[in-house]
Subunit: 423 residues, 2 copies
């Protein structure tokens, strides 16, 4: 698992939990220092101290129901500015040469979509110069600056992961190490299945599905970025003893790799994701005519509500039941939109909503070359008396919508049935 070549340039990323207190910041400094003793060039990307971003957002929101987004970004971005400075102070106190930069100093250029900006390019001359001098470079995650240094912009929740991976790509780092409060990516949520097993490797494609289906380990955009720019990305725990040897650290982590670099046992599936974040809307008796899906979903899209699963099943009477899922927090907004105009317009009589659902998904590149994975999944669930409400598939995942109360049972049963327990 551990790469044989010597690593010369690394990017580390530490999340808010890892930086939540003075004691933890010191622990991060110890860990970075240990790495720097073996690796000549180390860049560290930091999030805000845990709780800080929420505190700042609360301040802004208590001044306005709809706070100006440019100004809000300026407020919120201060969180990483503080933690970057503090980590630098701690590193220098240990006798290491270190320097901290905000996104605007690097510069990490983004578009002007405040609150969910995208990184456009990274100018890293300054960082290259510092790395050349042997300095540890500490950079604020989560933020950049619009062209011409007009305004500070933030990347949205979890954006520091993306900052780190983007920096690793731009600096041609050998690896991007994402330190978090878990020691890797698990076959499923260990709070649901105590026998969940850490994966030594996972492909970007699988990780992308895991992230979009409910695994909170990495921000989805960072996974896209890493896959696109082929950044070796590793998830590790920042809670372990910082004096642990580098070899021991690496042996207890998950490496996210390109499919072609895949080295693992040919498991049928790699992981199981689940969530209770969605709700189902069904409109019965919809005329089965062209364009009906657009008529129903258009107004939902306009309201910026994500639609996940969609089922339209043509009946023999020219009528169909049209079902789809939306984020549970958007259910009220979605039904209001539909009731206001869509229901009448399409000649339907009513709509049903169902909040008591969950989604369970199995994910694995192995599916591509195997038949029967789906039928095995359905069989396992059926044996437990679990009724499937909706199904959606992609090349490497199968998701089912179930009654809410079956989520834990379904995850545990599938976890055992697909042999994920064994090491």
């Amino acid at each position: 698992m551990v790469r044989k070549e010597i690593m010369k340039r690394l990017v580390h990323k530490y999340g808010g939990t890892s930086l939540a207190s003075i004691a933890r910041i010191k622990k991060v400094a110890d860990r970075v220092a240990k790495w720097r003793d073996s690796v000549p060039e180390v860049v560290v990307v930091v999030s805000a101290m845990a709780g800080e971003t929420n505190r700042l957002i609360d301040l802004g929101e208590s001044l306005s129901e709809n706070p100006n987004r440019r100004a809000m970004d300026q407020v919120v971005a201060s969180g990483e500015q503080v933690s970057a400075g503090l980590l630098t102070i701690a590193l220098m106190d240990l006798g290491y040469d270190a320097i901290s930069y905000c996104g605007w100093q690097v510069k990490m250029i983004t578009d002007g979509n405040h609150g969910k900006a995208r990184i456009l390019k990274i100018e890293n001359n300054r960082l290259e110069e510092d790395l050349g001098k042997g300095r540890i470079v500490v950079v604020t995650g989560f933020q950049g600056v619009t062209e011409k240094s007009e305004a500070i912009s933030t990347l949205g929740r979890g954006g520091s992961d993306t900052s780190a991976v983007a920096l690793a790509a731009s600096l041609n780092a050998d690896e991007c190490l994402i330190y978090t409060d878990v020691d890797g990516v698990y076959t499923t949520d260990p709070r649901i299945e105590p026998e969940a097993r850490r994966l030594n490797e996972i492909t970007f494609e699988e990780m992308l599905e895991m992230s979009s289906l409910g695994s909170k380990v990495l921000q989805i955009r960072s996974v896209e970025f890493g896959g696109k720019y082929k950044v070796r990305t590793r998830v590790l725990s920042s809670l372990k003893d910082p004096k642990l040897s580098i070899k021991d650290e690496l042996s207890c982590s998950t490496l996210i790799i390109q499919e072609e670099d895949r080295n693992m046992e040919e498991a049928l599936i790699s992981g199981i994701a689940c969530n209770r974040d969605e709700a189902k809307i069904t409109i019965p008796g919809v005329p089965d005519t062209p364009g009906i899906a657009h008529k129903i979903l258009g107004p939902i899209a306009e309201a910026n509500i994500d639609v996940d699963m969609i089922i339209q099943n043509a009946g023999i009477d020219g009528l169909t039941d049209f079902s789809f899922t939306v984020p549970r927090i958007d259910l009220t907004r979605a039904t209001e939109r539909l009731e206001k105009k869509v229901i009448d317009e399409i000649g339907a009589k009513t709509l049903h909503t169902d909040k008591n659902i969950c989604k369970v998904s199995i994910i694995g590149i192995g599916m591509r070359s195997s038949v029967g994975v789906a039928s095995k999944m359905f069989e396992v669930l059926s044996k437990e008396g679990i009724n499937i409400k909706m199904i959606s598939t992609s090349e490497i995942k199968i998701s089912v919508v179930l009654e809410d109360k079956y989520m834990e049972l379904a995850v545990r049963t599938l976890h055992a049935a697909f042999g994920l327990r064994e090491a």
Copy 2:
């Protein structure tokens, strides 16, 4: 007092107490909005919310006994970044067009003396453009950026006053309004003399003496700046009702003016300053030879300790008692330095220290053209049985060092004797 010409461009400055909570930030927004309704161009300079700068310094100092100053500046500067963003959110929520900038965006260029940087120049093209569009511009006080945007720099305690006055100078503002928790400059500290009276006007020179002698109303550097660049600077209270008319606000403030604009009754003295910040060191039996002052004070200066008053009185026996005052917090360091080498070297036997002293000063441009001010001061103190330990004078002030316990009595007696009570 109120200027007759119409004001077109103003700089406001609000301190940390004025921005200490969401409620107070809203109050500041109301006040700025009221001004903007009458004045087309308004720039607002803000400090960090009260307590925030100390919190950030504590974080840095808990990571290192001697925190790296560049990194510390990055940490500390976040305080104003937050309050500038928040005030902008509040102003926009009131329906005003506003935009916030950090020092590095303006840009406020400073030298690289982190923690006590000096402003070198201000590039205000961006602000001019925004003001031209009718926007209220909110700028972080206390901070700037070194040339080439290398690093955030802070100006030191109270630096936001200097930021505001420097911006007002650079933008050719009609006036710089410093909002604080008092409604102006008083003849003396009202906590000591309840009959202290707010001055409608004071000259920069007098204000400079007041600031250096213990009045905490304005940072001394901002007064120097205002005097040098002839910025009409006004001190007002941010605690009054923000709906108060502009006329009423101005009529309850202190305007700091150039001497040539002076318009006031020819008072002999304008104010009385006092403090208990100093301690006295006396070295008895020093040979009265050339260079002795340098031999004693050189090592003190090298230790970066400010020496204030100095008395060297030649005796007839070729020996003299050499006395001077240093900040009370530096007394131990100063005596250690002297005992280590100076005492032996100059052939003295010992040194005495006295912490139980205070300094009381009377200040007034009127002194220049009047004789007898000093003798009146000494007479008044003598009548109360107060012994004077040291005296120092300048063209517009007389300072005396007294026994600590007499400070309040001396201030009140002098306040009455020089007729400062009457309006």
